[in-house]
Structures are given as structure tokens and as C-alpha cells.
């Protein structure tokens, strides 16, 4: 049970201000999720043929240079217990290699633009730890967690990566994720936590792998995921929002000429520039909303 937020700039001139506007959105959702927080930021695209990795190891002193070297990265940027690096050769092989060579390292995200960071602690602490306020980018989604059934861990924090440049945050509680996890594992998907949201993310990744569009994958989830949920999904060039048909978990959207934003509660939108003149509405149940540019 949680707070979720998303901010997507339609106006590219605002990109330097992403962290400045996004950090307070996340912090305000502390009361909905004091256990941990996380976010995905979409910034400049990696060089052609290269892609970005966001990696995590719990020990601050972990020796990242060997990993960077092994992956052929040109340097790396350390942010608290995460590192960001650009590596050649996109997709599968690198990730499989990581599992074998550095099983102690968790791949938080992989893609041309995405960077996911998440950790235990209050949203304020996490925002400070990762220097969110100074971040730039075109869009970001974030999550503050009040753990329901699975443990409070960094791995159990959101967002969950669902494939290259795609990630998911969730407010609610799924009721059929255990059976679904088994089915997806049979399909070759790998899960690392008992978390219901990871299953939703895995489900979307599986649908995307089948060649479905994000929109269709979300539509299909209406059939296959049971329980209560509001999802926000980050993609390479946009983001999407979906609420289950019962729609008990809250969501409010704000749109101006410059941006589209979503949050569990209006409070998180209250400090956005020009929000008092924004178009404000609640996403309809069972309807997929998406924006891209």
C-alpha cells in the first residue's frame, strides 16, 4: 500500500527542472509509504549501440570497478549504494552475464534512457540519498511504499523494471499474483521477491516480449490481474496510467501545456508550476491512459 507519482514533460525546455519538481511530489507521499521509496528517471539517450544500467549492491564499499571493467563500461557513476554505467551491447547477453559473474549485484534497470534507484527509508531520506532534486530528464515515476505482505527490502521496493526502458509502480494489492507468478515462471520469467507488483511487472514484460504494445499489454492485464491496483508505467518516451475496474485506490491527474502529472493524492501535485490552472481529473476505472512524445 503506497503512494505513487509520475511527471512527464511535454515541454522539453523543462527537462533541467525534473528533479526540482519531482522530489517534492515523492516526499509528500511519505504518509502513504514510509518504509521505502524509489523512482525511475528518463534522461538523455545512451550512445547508439550502448545502453544504461542501474545497478545496486547493499554495501557502499562494493568494488564496482571490476563490474564496470567486465561489462566494458567506460567508467561509472556511483550514487549511494547504486551505480550507473553505460555498457555496449544492449539486451539479453549482458544481463545473463551479470547473473553468472556478479550474482550479488542487482540490476535495477536497463535501457537507453531509464535509471531506477530505490532504497529503504522514508521518501525524504531516499530523495536526499540519491540527490533527486538535481536530476534532469523528460519524465519520472516514483513510489513510496507501505509494505503489505512482502518484506521491507530494497529489492521489494518499486519501481520494478519490466524490460528495456519500461518500469512499473503500483498502489493497491493484487489477489492472484502467486498463481500468476508460477505461470510466468513456467514461461521463463524470473522473479526475485514475493512482491505482488513484481508479478504485475513480470506480466507486462511477458506481454511485451510477445510483441504486444504497452497499451495492449495493459488492456490484457485487466483480464489477468485480480485485486486492486492503480499502476503507473514509465516507458522510453512516455508514461501510462491504469486503474482496476473497481478503482478503490486513488489517482489524480493534472495536465497543462507543459506537463502531465499523476499522483495518489492531489497533495503531491500542489506545488507543481501552474497547477492551479491545470486540467485536473481522475482516471476512469479500467481505461488505459498514455502519453508520449
Amino acid at each position: 500500500m503506497c503512494g505513487i507519482v509520475g511527471l512527464f514533460f511535454k515541454n522539453s525546455e523543462m527537462e533541467p527542472e525534473l528533479g526540482h519538481h519531482f522530489a517534492p511530489m515523492l516526499e509528500t507521499m511519505c504518509s502513504r509509504g514510509p518504509d521505502s521509496a524509489g523512482f525511475a528517471v528518463y534522461d538523455q539517450e545512451s550512445r547508439e549501440g550502448w545502453f544504461k544500467l542501474s545497478l545496486y549492491h547493499p554495501e557502499l564499499g562494493y568494488e564496482w570497478s571490476k563490474v564496470a571493467e567486465g561489462l566494458g563500461a567506460v567508467g561509472f557513476e556511483k550514487v549511494a549504494n547504486h551505480v550507473l554505467m553505460e555498457v555496449p551491447e544492449p539486451d539479453g547477453p549482458v544481463l545473463q552475464q551479470m547473473q553468472l559473474r556478479w550474482p550479488e549485484v542487482t540490476v535495477m534497470s536497463a535501457g537507453r534512457r531509464i535509471q531506477i534507484m530505490k532504497d529503504m527509508g522514508t521518501p525524504q531520506e531516499v530523495v536526499e540519498r540519491f540527490g533527486v532534486r538535481g536530476m534532469r530528464g523528460s519524465h519520472a515515476i516514483g513510489h513510496t511504499r507501505m509494505a503489505t505482505e512482502s518484506a521491507v527490502t530494497t529489492a521489494g521496493s518499486h519501481p520494478f523494471s519490466t524490460g528495456m526502458d519500461v518500469c512499473l509502480v503500483h498502489n493497491g494489492s493484487l489477489s492472484n499474483h502467486n498463481r500468476l507468478r508460477l505461470n510466468l515462471e513456467r514461461e521463463g520469467m524470473v522473479f526475485h521477491t514475493e512482491n505482488d507488483t513484481e508479478v504485475a511487472a513480470g506480466y507486462l514484460a511477458w506481454r511485451l516480449k510477445q510483441g504486444k504494445s504497452l497499451h495492449d499489454a495493459l488492456e490484457a492485464s485487466l483480464q489477468d490481474l485480480d485485486g486492486f491496483y492503480t499502476f503507473a508505467v514509465g516507458t522510453h518516451d512516455g508514461f501510462a496510467v491504469l486503474r482496476d475496474p473497481v478503482a478503490c485506490k486513488p489517482a489524480v491527474m493534472a495536465e497543462t501545456e507543459d506537463y502531465v502529472a499523476m499522483a495518489s493524492e492531489y497533495r503531491s501535485l500542489a506545488e507543481l508550476p501552474g497547477v492551479e490552472k491545470a486540467r485536473l481529473w481522475e482516471p476512469e476505472p479500467g481505461v488505459v491512459y498514455s502519453w508520449s512524445r
Binding site: 478503482a247 489524480v252 493524492e265 492531489y266 497533495r267 485536473l280 481529473w281 481522475e282
Partner: protein, 233 residues
Amino acid sequence: MMSTIEKRRCAGFDLDVQSVRDLNGALHAAVEPGVWEVINPKGRHALAVGLTLAHEVRIVGHAGYYCAGMNQLAKVVVEGNAGTGVAENMMSGKVHVMGNASQSAGATAHGGLLVIDGDASARCGISMKGINVVVKGSVGHMSAFMGQSGTLVVCGDAGDALGDSLYEAKLFVRGKVASLGADCVEKEMRAEHLVLLTRLLQEAGSGAKPEEFRRYGSARKLYHFHSDHVASY
């Protein structure tokens, strides 16, 4: 002798400076009704809740959850949107939302009038117990779910499953109804209904014409369990 207006204590609250507790504490401590203005609400929750006097409270901006919850006698105006459960369990008085209202507006309320100038989302008037709700825009799905008594007037459209498991609440909708819930049926609009509707539209300041509305109510088939209706449970 002082005039009524002068006697009323007027106070302003800036929620960027003062807390919600300061606001509600002052409203509860007042011995006489007053006129109050609240600025910078910024979606904060539980604004002007549990009032017992005929205060007039103006909230300039958007309110969070449960604004004017359990209101008695007071008149609360939200010059913006209201979050979940605005005027929940209101007993009397008036709550006016000039923007949109979120889920469960007027939930379980026993009395008073709730006016929403914009739209109300899902479950508007859920378990209503006597309140009158006038929504000038549209309402979301499952509105008036288990509505026990009172009136829901919707000048726009109604979402799916309107009036599901309805008891004796009266529903009037001017626009389209996406679908009716279990045990909710369209009913004949009789003279007394037009009188009621006319009065409520007037009190809400709506220009909608009563004769453009259709009336919905309970078929009362679920009042006693019967295995023939098992699909409706």
C-alpha cells in the same frame, strides 16, 4: 447593538503557516458561528471536519480527503476540487464543491445538501442515509451503491452500476446512464418527484429543467433473500 455580521468572528487560516489541527481546533472551540477563510489548502486532508455550528467556511483551493466530514449546520464552500469522501456522513448544513469531487462524495451522509459543480467520480452517495446530493456534471460507477434514503440528482451522465443494491434513496439523472446496478430500475416520474427535484435544483443553483430528468429507484427484489435472485447477490 451590534449587527449579526459584526458579531460573527471572522478569521483567516493560511495552511502554509498554520496546521489543519489549528484550523479544526479553532472551529471546534468557537462558541458562536463565524465566517472563516482557508487559503493554501493544497489538498490537505480533514479540513473543516466535525463542525457543529452554523459556520461559513470558504476553502480557497483544492481540498484533500474527507473535507467537511460529519458536518452539522455549517456551510462549507470549496473553491476547487475535493478529494475522497467530501461531506462524508454529513448530518445537516451545506457543502458546495465548485470543482470536481473524488470518490465516495457524500458517503453515508444523513442529511444536508452537497452540491458539486463539476463531476463526482466513483461511488458518489454510497450508502447515503438521507443526504441530498446535486451533481451538476456526471458521476462515476457504483454511485448511490446501497443508497438507503435521500436523493441523488445528476445533471450529467451516470457511470456503470448506478444504484446497485439500492434501498430507498431516490435517483434522478438527466443524461445517459451507462448501466443500472442490481435491483435498480427506472421508475415513473410523478408530480411529487418533480416538486422535490425542482426544489433541489433551485437550492443547488442549477438551471437544469426538472422534466429533462429520469427517475430511478429500487425494484425491492433483494429486500428478502430468494434463491431465484441469487445472480444479483
